[in-house]
């Protein structure tokens, strides 16, 4: 344990000696972490937003205004028999009229303009299946119109799912870049500490002892970079919320992004520390093998 403290002290002293280069490498790490994290925050928030929308009615079927009760019942039976349909809610034109009158100013209207309507939940969620069901229902007698309410939501969520995959890809690429950057930085340090490594080897230092300060250096770069990334994300999300607030107000929405996401931030920091550890491990293991004692 003391040996670990000793190594950390040594690394911190060296970092303080080279404040500028420590800051630079940490900034590079922070920016590389920020890019996928920012996308993630946006996509993640839109996903929760759209999944709320999806729980509402999927399809609306409007009956022709002149249809009588028998014809309506025929449609009802046809819907009940359709295996692609999960549930149906019937709202008669009178019910809809009452609801509308309760909600809005309707003095100008002296006659009910609303049709009878069925609100349908389908079993399938795939756009193709819904499209087919919609076409089938539109062919029924006395049906004025079938609307697929959530079509755009489905498309959006498909795009968002694609977005998530792209984020993973970008994050993966940036992780490789980070690995290279960190292991290169540590490699430069190893070159400047070469004498120390040689002398330590001569005195019977184990590879673990030699590796330790470099591993802590890599992990500290990750930690500082991760903390910087969390700070930068907080500022960016705050600025975004400021500018979106006015727009959201126009739509009577309080859409904004969560400013402090502790779970995301701790994941970013842990990820950065792991990358730092791995990068320096690769560099130092290669260097130890390469540096001969004589």
């Amino acid at each position: 344990m003391n040996t670990h403290l000793q190594a950390i002290k040594l690394v911190l002293a060296r970092m303080l000696q080279k404040k500028l280069s420590t800051l630079m490498i940490s900034l590079v790490i922070a920016v590389a972490l920020c890019v996928p994290a920012l996308f993630y925050i946006g996509v993640n928030h839109l996903t929760t937003f759209t999944s709320q929308l999806q729980s509402e009615t999927e399809m609306s079927l409007f009956v022709k205004l002149d249809a009588n009760n028998d014809q309506i019942n025929q449609i009802k039976d046809a819907l009940a028999a359709n295996k692609a349909i999960k549930s149906v809610k019937f709202v008669s034109k009178d019910e809809a009229w009452q609801a509308l009158k309760a909600k809005a100013e309707t003095q100008d209207l002296d006659k009910n303009p609303l049709p009878d309507a069925f609100f349908i939940q389908a079993n399938a969620a795939e756009p193709e299946a819904l499209e087919k069901l919609k076409n089938d229902l539109a062919k029924l007698n006395n049906v004025e119109k079938v609307l697929l309410n959530t079509e755009w939501v489905k498309r959006l969520s498909a795009i968002l799912a694609l977005g998530k995959q792209i984020i993973l890809l970008v994050a993966g690429l940036l992780a490789i870049a980070l690995l290279v950057i960190i292991s290169n930085t540590v490699r430069m340090q190893i070159i400047t500490q070469k004498d120390e490594i040689i002398v330590s080897k001569l005195m019977g230092a184990t590879n673990g002892f030699i590796r330790m300060p470099f591993l802590y250096a890599g992990m500290l770069y990750g930690l500082i970079g991760g903390l910087l990334a969390a700070l930068m994300l907080t500022i960016m999300v705050w600025l975004f919320n400021q500018s979106i607030a006015q727009l959201a107000e126009l739509y009577h929405s309080n859409f904004n992004l969560p400013i402090f996401d502790g779970s995301l931030f701790s994941k970013i920091i842990l990820f950065a520390i792991s990358i730092g550890w791995l990068g320096s491990y690769l560099a130092v293991t290669r260097a130890i093998a390469a540096i001969k004692t004589n």
Binding site: N2, V199, L202
Partner: protein, 223 residues
Amino acid sequence: MIKFDHVTKRYPGSDDILKNVSLSIEAGEFVFVTGHSGAGKSTLLKLIAALERPTHGTVLIANQNISQLKDSALPFMRRRFGLIFQDHKLLYDRNCFENVILPLHINGITGLDAAKRVRAALDKVGLLSKEKAMPITLSGGEQQRLAIARAVVSRPSVLIADEPTGNLDASYATDIMSIFQAFNQVGVTVVMATHDALNRYAMHKRVLHIDHGELKNEQSISS
């Protein structure tokens, strides 16, 4: 303590540096290794200090066969030895105290106990007042004494010195030799390579003379 049995050492692409060397060094001895430069003195020292493994033959250190030791066990074997080099191999980015404490950290000794031992070692070589000085500000003789302090601080049972006085004035060299003598008197085994076989401190000491990789004669130099 140290036993060579028909040891041959060859580096990849080289001729035999050491040929069929057999010798044994007992605990508490003071042994000189002599020979012209390139004769194989340094290689012999490296084999003794477990820095290299023999190509043929066996090297036994404290009854352990170096050829059969795992890589991971070698560092622990090396800690039995204090090494001193002609070029000191000091670390110039840290002060005297920090140079000497390094072997203790390698041995897992830290804190007050380590500091005490560092000061004791610096005191033995007469550098206690310079613990905060950077090595580059010391004279050649002082740097070599610092290297000795670093070699003895972890209390090794064997001191191995490769031409420790090679670069020094006669008066400094006398200094250094008397320090080695003092350690030998308290029971530390000393193995020292020197190209100067007539070193006056070699009196009554065993001399291993190496000529073109062969151990020529074991002699005791008397004045």
